[in-house]
Amino acid sequence: MSPAGMGLRHHGPEPIDPVRVVVLGGRGFVGSELLAAMKHAGIATLAPPRLELDLTAADASDRLAGILRPTDSLVLLAAVTPDKGRGVGPFMANLTIGAAVARALERVTPAHVVYFSSDAVYPMSAGLVSEASGAQPSDLYGMMHLARETMLTTASRAPVAVLRPTLLYGAGDTHNSYGPNRLRRVAHKEGRIALFGEGEEVRDHLFVDDIVGLTLLALRLRSSGLLNLATGRSISYAELARKIAAQFERPIEIVGTPRQTPVTHRHFDVTALHKAFPAFRFTPIDEGLARAHCEMIGGA
C-alpha cells in the first residue's frame, strides 16, 4: 500500500474528550502516565487492576464485556514486555490477552479502540520506516503485536487506532532495556556508561509525555488506522550517551565495549504523523532528557 493510504483518519471533526476511557495495562510506564494526564484533563477513566480483571484468565472476556459500555474508549496497553522474556511463554500469554479483548469487542462495541503495538513489527532491515513499510517481525514479541493488531481490528466494529511506538524514555520507565533510561541509571550509579561497540547504532527515542499527548489526540479525535509513533530524528547511542552524561555535574566516563552484534540503524519517516496531527510538537530530545534526569534525581 502506498504511504498516502496509511496513517490515521479522524472520526470527529473537532477534538472532544471521550466519555470514559478504559485502560488495560494502566499500571505500566505508559499507562500510568496516560491515566495521570487524563485525570489532569478531567477525563473519566477506569483502569481495572489485575486482581479485578486478569486478562489471561479464562473468564477475562466475560469480565471485560461486563465492564465495557458503548460510550467507552478502550486503550489496550497490557502486555508481557520483552524484559520479562521473549520466549514462547510470554508470546502465548500475550496472545491470550489479545484474544480475551477481541472476544469482548465482539460482544460489546465501544466508541473507540486504541491499541498500543510496537515498532518491533518491523525488521531492522526495513530502511526508512513508515506505515507503508512491510511488517515482518524478527521475533515473537513483534509477531505477537502484529497478531494482536489483526485480532482487534478484525473483532472491533468500532474505529481502531493501531499505534506503533518506537523506543520510549522517561523517568518512570521500569524497563531496563538499552536506551536513555538504562544509560542514565547506570551513569548515576556507576559514573560511567558502557556502550555496545562504540555506540554507532542510531535510534529514534520518544519522550513519554509525547506518547501521552499523541494518544490523547487520537482519543479526542476518535482516530482509526495505523500510525507509527516516533519523532523522525534518530541519533546514535554515542551521542545519546554524551547528552545523558552532560546532565550530571560530575564527569561521566563513556566507554566502548567489544561489539557482539552487527551495527543496525533505525530511522522513521513521520510524514503520516505530521498529517494526522499537524500542530503536534515533539519534545526536543535535549529537553526530554533533562526533564527525565531531573525527575530521576528528584526521586532518587
Partner: protein, 428 residues
Amino acid sequence: MSEPVIGFAGLTHLGLVSAAAAAARGFDVIAFDPDRARVASIARGELPVVEPDLPQRLDKHRDRLTCTADVAALARCDVVYVAPDVPTDEASASDLAPVRTLFEMVAGAVASEAVLVVLSQVPPGFTRSLPGPAERRFYQVETLIFGRAVDRALHPERFILGCAEPSLPLPPSLATYLGAFGCPVLPMRYESAELAKISINVCLVASVSAANILAEVCERVGADWSEIVPALRLDRRIGPAAYLAPGLGIAGGNLERDLATVCRLAEQHGTEAAVVRAWLADSEYRRDWALRQIHARVLTRVADPTLAVLGLAYKENTASTKNSASLALLAALAPFRVRVYDPSVAPRPEFHPQLAAAATPLEACAGGDALIVMTPWDEFRALRADAIAARLRGRTVIDPYRVLDAAACLAAGLDLVVLGAPAREAPP
C-alpha cells in the same frame, strides 16, 4: 499526391497542440470535437489549456485551421488523428471508453480511403481491438510535455508508429504528413508502439527517481547534487538531456498512468514489477519533502505561523494541478494560515481552510514566517531576495527547485533549504 488534409478529433490538450503543429507545418487542418461549447470557446480564442505559444500558433495559422463540432467535416480529411486526452481515476487507471467512442464516431464519418491514427495514450492491445480495416488504422506515440508541448509537436525527435503490418509501406498521405517534420519514422507492431510510449516514461521515472534518492543523500552528507549532475551528463550512458533534476514526486497524471499500467500488466501476465511499485511509493515520499522541512524548520520554532506558498500548478507553464505537490502540502497545513500566489491557478477555498490569495508573489510573502516555492515558474526567478526578506517576518526559505538566487538569499539574511544540498543558514 497533393498535400493531404489532416484531421484531429478531440480538442483537449493533445489534440489542440497537435492541430496547431500540423497547421504550422503548412497543412490544411480540420479540428473536430463533439462538444459544441468547447469548439465555440476555441473559436473565440478561449483555450481549455494553458500552454506557451499555443494561442499564438492557433491565431497565426487560423486560415489553415477549421474548428468544428460537425463530425461530417472530417470527410475531407486524408488522415485523421483521434487525440482526446485520456482521463485517469485516483488509481491512475485510464478510462478508455471516451477514446473508443470518439474513434468509432470518426470512423463512421471519414472517407473510405482515409487513414485513422490513434494519438491518445492507450495500453498495449487497444489499437488492435478497434474496429475497421487494420491497414488504414495506426497508433502514433505522443510525447507531449506540459509547458513545452508546442515546441515538441513542431520538432519531434522521431515518430513511433504502431501498424498492423510494419513491413508494408505507409499510406502515401500519412507518409507525406510525417515526412514534413523531417525526423525518423519508426514503424512497429501496434503493441510495440503502445509499449514504447510506456517505456519512455518508465525510463524517465527511473532516472528522476535515482536523482531524487541521491539528492536526498546529498542533503545529509554535505554533497551538492547540482555539482554531480554535470559529471553525469558527460557520461555517454546517461546523456546530456537525462532527467536528473530532483523534484517533488511524479505528478501531472501521465507518468503515474504508465507506471500503473506496467503494474497492472505485470499482475495480469505474471511479470516482476516490484521496482515500479517502489517508484510509486518513493514518489509519494518525495511529494511530502516540503512538509517535512516545514515541520523541522518552522513549526518547531513558531507557535502559530503564517506560511507563504508560491505556486499551485504541478509544474511551471501549466494550469494543471493533477497530483500537485503544492496542493498536497496545503492539505497537510490545515491548522495554519497560508498566503498563496500562482500565475495561472486561482486559489480555491477547497485547497485550504485558511487560505489567503495574493495578487503578487511579494504580497504572498508579507508577514510570512517562511516562504515555500512549490512550482518553478520563471516569474519567481525574477524575485529579488532582499525584497522577499523585507516582507517576510521569518527567515526560512524552502526552495526545492532552486528558483531563487541562493547567494542573494543568504546575503539578504535568509536561511535556504533546497533539494539536493544541505540547508544553509544566513551568516549572523
